[in-house]
């Protein structure tokens, strides 16, 4: 295309108060031919109302099967800068915490080896370095690893685990989401980098049922903080909220899903046996209420987007497990491996764990991974009479 870049349609996206990615990209267009042609091709997409990318090809770095998404332009002659435009997924640190120093090292590398464009972050949690050519993949990887960074997952492997800010900056954290994320990510480097599963396996960790990483909706395995005992109440702080004018009756008591809170004067009472740990009351009065002392996490399995059997929320496999000691972490490894083994043996190609569980049935799955059925795993017992009885009386007995 001609040297001076004309993007009348995209220019419309420079207007308005929300930060403009077009402005930002244009600021790079001078430095980077890739960005310039990306803008060119994008302008064309806006005009023609269609994308111009070819189906991703298999590219990557030596010895890894995942971490890179291959991408080629459908119009390489017109936009040579993006004829290759691969994505490098870099495994973020737990909780997406950075220092400016560390972050600068990454952007320096990316300015040298890639387009200089990124997503901070991808929906799974990785730093997404957006756009480079095949030849630069290995050098990018080397530069990153030298600074102590590694790639994230892609394809049918363990996807990059991610977690909420948790104990680092949240009073609700019921377990150390950052520590477990670090532990699992390092413990399963091989599964993360070398796809050998039936399909992707995502792990998201939220410190409490507010689920700030959307674990129950977007991760094959959700590890979501919860407590078992009574909500901790600071009645003095409750009184403060009353005095400050908070309408506890209307906004807390009446909003409790099980109606197990009552307000007497400036004191609240909670029938914890009926509390379903929804977090609402704690959310409204963080200064007065906090999760109980016996803390841990619930494990959910099977969340996913709709392709192809319909979207699923994760379903509870373990309503509560402690996650404090090394032993607890090892129990978690053991559980994860039992799940992978069974899925690996009986799951089919491109069958997510959630679809697998629905196909074989929850009861069968539990037997397969060695868990006992308990009522917390279901909303309700079956309402149909089609029971496959397995024990019979034979003539002679009974």
């Amino acid at each position: 295309m001609s040297d001076d870049l004309k993007t009348p349609l995209l220019d419309e996206l420079e207007k308005g108060p929300w930060p403009s990615f077009v402005k930002d990209l244009k600021s790079m267009a001078g430095k980077s031919a890739m960005v310039k042609d990306l803008l060119g091709q994008l302008e064309k997409s806006y005009r023609d109302k269609r994308g111009y990318w070819k189906h991703g090809g298999l590219v990557g770095v030596m010895g890894y099967g995942g971490g890179v998404i291959g991408r080629y332009s459908a119009l390489p002659e017109e936009f040579p800068g993006v004829s290759h435009f691969h994505t490098v997924r870099v495994n973020q640190p737990s909780g997406w915490f950075y220092t400016s120093e560390a972050m600068r090292e990454i952007v320096d590398i990316w300015d040298e080896h890639g387009s200089g464009l990124t997503n901070m972050h991808g929906s799974t949690g990785d730093m997404v370095l957006l756009g480079t050519v095949t030849d630069e993949l290995e050098p990018t990887f080397r530069a990153l690893t030298e600074k102590g960074w590694d790639l994230g997952g892609s394809g049918s492997d363990l996807r990059t685990p991610s977690c909420c800010v948790g104990p680092a900056r949240c009073e609700n954290a019921c377990y150390d989401t950052l520590a477990l994320t670090y532990n699992l990510t390092h413990n399963y480097q091989d599964e993360l980098h070398r796809p050998m599963f039936n399909y992707k396996y995502k792990i998201k960790m939220s410190g409490c049922p507010n689920d700030c990483t959307a674990a129950i909706a977007r991760s094959d395995m959700g590890i979501i903080g919860i407590w078992k005992d009574d909500i901790q109440v600071d009645q003095a702080a409750v009184a403060e909220y009353v005095d400050s004018g908070l309408n506890i009756q209307e906004f807390v008591v009446e909003k409790c899903p099980t109606g197990c809170i009552s307000l007497e004067g400036k004191e609240i009472k909670i029938d914890n046996s009926e509390c379903v740990k929804c977090m609402h009351c704690i959310n409204v009065m963080p200064k007065a209420l906090s999760p109980g002392k016996e803390r841990g996490a619930a494990i959910t399995l099977g969340a996913k987007a709709p392709i192809v059997e319909g979207a699923l929320f994760g379903s509870v496999m373990i309503p509560f497990m402690k996650l404090e000691t090394e032993e607890d972490f090892e129990e978690m490894h053991d559980l994860i491996e039992r799940i992978w083994e069974f899925w690996d043996e009986y799951g089919t190609n491109r069958e997510r764990i959630g679809e697998f569980i629905e196909r074989v049935g929850l009861a069968t799955f539990l037997e397969g991974v060695g868990l006992d059925p308990i009522p917390q795993m279901v909303k309700q017992p079956r309402d149909n009479p089609y029971i496959f009885y397995e024990e019979y009386f034979e003539e002679g007995e009974n």
């Binding site: 930060p19 806006y46 050098p139 950052l178």
Partner: protein
Amino acid sequence: MATETQRRTDIGPPHYEKFLHPIIKENYGKWKYHETLKPGVLVHYGETGSIYTVRAASPRLISTNFIRMVTDLADKYSEGYFRFTSRNNVEFLLGNKDNIEPLIKELGDNGVPVGGTNNAISNVVHTQGWVHCHSSATDASGLVKVVMDELFEYFGSMKLPHKLRIAVACCLNMCGAVHASDIAILGVHRTPPRIDNETLPNLCEIPTTVASCPNNAIRPTSVEGRTTVKVDEDKCMYCGNCYTVCPAMPLADPLNDGVSIWVGGKISNARTEPMFTKLAIPYIPNNPPRWPEVTDAVRNIVELYAKNAKPYERLGEWINRIGWPKFFDLTGIEFTKYHIDDFRYAGTTYRRSLHNRY
């Protein structure tokens, strides 16, 4: 030069500890509670001190220029410490309260607003779109930009009844959080894949391709001697799963691609259990660069929610209280046969009681 040193693999990400602000290290796991000082500004009280969070917007699709700007501000105001959120905002973590206002000011000078906390519309979880994905039925970054321009006032304020979470995904793969958001914008293909019989035999594995279709719409066939596949168009609902496994079956169709609008999903367990997003508007044609029909539709829903929902009611909770008939009345959105589920669990969505509103 990188190439001279020993190649390292499987080292995993660095330990998070070295990225934690000293005040955070000290109070790690010991936070007492938090307050929202103003939109976009939180304080968390610990045992030995408080950490101040300034949450700044980000387009997520950002260049190293943008990132350098962030790192410079972090050095200047937050001892070099910052993080990103699960919705892709930037959070500066300040030890010193006095730096809050100057930081906000300088962010403003760089065109970056602060907000997204509590009862606000936070950043939009989104995907690649025409910027990078072969599968997209629309663009993502552009839609996010025009929608957040339209709803800007709700990012920097906290005047909504509760949090409102918006997501955008550019195809049914839903790489964003579309299936569980208060409002979701979903790119849709509406015509069956067009089969390239030239390339298909070489590019695709026939059995895998046939198996990929949830509706068994794909059958092997042979064209001019080559074995390829054909699609029973009546059975196809344009999910794109075949294209994912077989590049020779593209769905892109400028005339018919576009977006659909979904409402009422949520993820948190607060009060109500997580809810899936439900169909509001089946189809709006792509109208780049600013998709005015989409931004109007979204604003309409947001404003009705702002006006009618009670405090602490999420969009979906509000709709459940007033009932879907009233939602369609209020919004003026037409209820069509497309709104009636016809997939796996369709039967469970029929109204099987007398509970109804008139």
